[in-house]
């Protein structure tokens, strides 16, 4: 494992700038998640570190060594692709052993078998070692793909939305396992996703990417409570953050220059009210079991928030809504603190 450092790395495809002067340091043993919408440059960043793309500018340093011009095989990185990318004509065992059989390693057969068995147990696929990789379910295939990265003991693991093609239950399961494995072996890991739950639950630090730029990097808590701008604020939180005009709802102190107020569930106070001081109305309620999504309208603005299902609020109720320490943004979308 090693520290990985990106220094002002840029990559263009024709006129489009996929990665725009990104500076990023991933400390030894750290789990960093890059979060962003499609086309934000997440995958390109990973591919640049792996050497599958060459940067147009900047430096990539792995373990203190500048690898910007090195081929993928010279970089000692492991990559888990979004597609399963297993070798379809090989068995699970052969797939896991493939990286170890590199002539550069000269690893004896029994050691290969020992490592494969250990990793197979770690990703819980040891009962299917003799199966053809095409005869596995999606979840099993992705375990093998992750396992094939783990046998390597590389400087850094690069994972490109490895769980995105799995169903929700499996995704939740593998998420926990991946975090457990990372803790176990103290791996340096850069993980790309557009799923905020994955980012929030697994990351030591989250980097938010948009249009090739790294907007903010910090712990999940920091990114959630202290976003630098509107875009970052909108990436996290469910339901989606409500963006309101100042003055729509009562608020203690609105700083000057605030053009937009960001209000998450915890920034909204709901009180059932008599008709005379009500400023909002509940349109309808989505019941999710443990919680309710309230769809509220206030002077034509739509607001979505969570509520306790036992709070006794019904569709059509008039309520009084107020803001409590919300987020303020200026005309350019920058946060005002």
């Amino acid at each position: 494992m090693a520290e990985v450092r990106l220094e002002s790395v840029t990559r263009r495809f024709g006129d489009a700038v996929a990665v725009d002067h990104v500076d990023l340091v991933i400390a030894d043993g750290e789990f960093v998640v890059l979060l962003g919408p499609t086309g934000a440059g997440k995958t390109t960043t990973l591919r640049l570190i792996a050497g599958l793309e060459k940067p147009d500018g900047g430096r990539i340093v792995i373990g203190g060594e500048d690898v910007s011009d090195c081929a993928p095989s010279e970089r000692d990185v492991a990559f888990v692709f979004q597609q399963y990318s297993l070798y379809p004509h090989l068995t699970v065992f052969e797939n896991l052993a493939f990286p170890l059989k590199s002539p550069a390693r000269r690893m004896p057969k029994d050691e290969i078998a020992a490592r494969v068995n250990k990793v197979a147990a770690m990703v819980r696929i040891d009962h299917k070692l003799a199966n053809r990789s095409t005869a596995l379910s999606g979840g099993e295939m992705q375990r093998v793909a992750i396992g094939r990265a783990l046998v390597r003991d590389p400087s850094i693991f690069l994972m490109d939305e490895p769980l995105s093609s799995l169903d929700a239950k499996l995704r939740a399961e593998l998420r926990v396992e991946l975090k457990r494995i990372q803790n176990e072996i103290g791996a340096t890991l850069l993980y790309v996703t557009h799923d905020q739950v994955e980012a929030m639950t697994m990351a030591d630090r989250i980097g938010i990417l948009a249009e090739g730029k790294l907007l903010q990097i910090g712990t999940p808590r920091e990114i959630y409570t202290d976003p630098v701008n509107l875009h970052v604020a909108a990436r996290l939180g469910h339901p989606h953050i409500n963006l309101l005009k100042p003055g729509l709802l009562p608020c203690e102190s609105v700083p000057g220059g605030a053009r937009t107020i960001g209000a998450r569930t915890e920034h909204l106070e709901i009180r059932p009210s008599a008709k005379n001081d009500a400023n909002a109305r509940v349109d309808w309620i989505e019941h999710l079991g443990d919680q309710n999504h309230l769809h509220i309208s206030s002077e034509g603005e739509k607001i979505i928030t969570l509520a306790d299902p036992y709070a006794g609020i019904n569709p059509g109720d008039a309520i009084s809504l107020s803001l409590k320490n919300p987020l303020f943004f200026d005309e350019n979308g920058h946060r005002i603190t």
Binding site: S73, S85, P103
Partner: protein
């Protein structure tokens, strides 16, 4: 048929009948699903019976008789297995089979090697690769008759381009050898022409195989530190193998029954060095007019090709399932 399945089918037919106009519905309702199915496939079945199955059965019948097609009115007698016995014990049959085996083996080897290499090079997607693909495919689009006549000129010892090119590279006198007239060269002459014509076809199938291997597999291998050599042997070849095998099968079957091009090039000669099985067969049937014996030979060939192809397809399926 499974009971549940058939009930579903009847249900569908009922629904269809209900939604069709009354007169048609009344007529259709009288027919069972099976009858309707037969009505739909009968044109194909009738054509197949008339054009394929009947002649095959008729040839099987003729192979047990002394029938001669040039004497239609003479009496036909059953001769038992004598035709088969004669064909199998005839030295000429085995010479023809040897010539065919030589031709099939070497055309397949050369076409597969050259075809795959060309496909591998074209797959690199260099500038103008589409143009070169089309250029390479041209021989395949020609008629075998054209190719045969065309190569007769190329092989012409005095004026032929082929002899001059060989002469240019080796220094031997162009008119000192005859590709089509020499007993040792003629079998290779027909192999060269067939390879020239059909390598593009093998290339096309191999190219489809190579294109079916996704890029990310190579990227994964590259990150896994596999050398280009190892990527070729452990990814490219195994994943393209079903396609290569398919190309070999097609070319094998085609060349086993090769006739037109070789007749135009050498007519089976010199002597009978390039007389392939199908040429012998044609002589037997339409020059010697021993129809019964020719039928027996045809059936022996059919069983041989069919049997070999079946074994091969089993192997192919096993490779595909990996």
């Amino acid at each position: 048929m499974n009971e549940r399945f058939s009930t579903t089918l009847e249900g569908t037919a009922d629904a269809a009948a209900r939604s069709t106009p009354p007169a048609v519905a009344r007529r259709l309702r009288g027919l069972s699903d099976r009858a309707i199915a037969w009505i739909f496939i009968s044109p194909t079945i009738i054509l197949l019976l008339a054009i394929n199955i009947f002649p095959l059965c008729w040839a099987i019948y003729l192979s047990f008789t002394n029938y001669r097609a040039n004497r239609p009115n003479s009496e036909v007698e059953g001769v038992g297995l004598r035709n088969f016995e004669r064909v199998l014990t005839d030295g000429d049959t085995w010479l023809a089979m040897q010539a065919t085996a030589h031709f099939v083996f070497w055309t397949i080897v050369l076409q597969t090697l050259i075809g795959f290499t060309l496909a591998y090079l074209i797959d690199r997607k260099f500038r103008g690769h589409a143009f070169w693909t089309t250029v390479i495919l041209i021989p395949m689009m020609l008629s075998p008759a054209v190719v045969g006549n065309f190569w007769r000129f190329l092989y012409q010892p005095q004026i032929g381009l082929f002899n001059y090119i060989v002469s240019f590279f080796t220094g031997v006198e162009p008119s000192s050898f005859q590709m089509l007239g020499d007993v040792t060269l003629a079998p290779w002459a027909i192999i060269i022409v067939d390879t020239w014509m059909w390598t593009p076809y093998v290339m096309l199938i191999c190219l489809a195989g190579l294109r079916s291997i996704p890029d990310y597999i190579y990227e994964a291998a590259e990150v896994d530190r596999a050398s280009p050599w190892r990527q070729f042997w452990s990814i490219t070849i195994p994943m393209a193998l079903p396609f290569i095998m398919l190309a070999v099968l097609f070319r094998g079957i085609e060349n086993f029954k090769m006739f037109d091009m070789v007749v135009l090039l050498t007519g089976g000669g010199p002597g009978s060095t390039t007389e392939l099985a199908s040429i012998t067969l044609k002589r037997e049937a339409f020059e010697s007019w021993r129809t019964g014996r020719a039928s027996a030979f045809a059936i022996i060939l059919f069983v041989a090709v069919f049997g070999l192809a079946n074994i091969y397809v089993k192997a192919l399926n096993r490779v595909k399932q990996r």
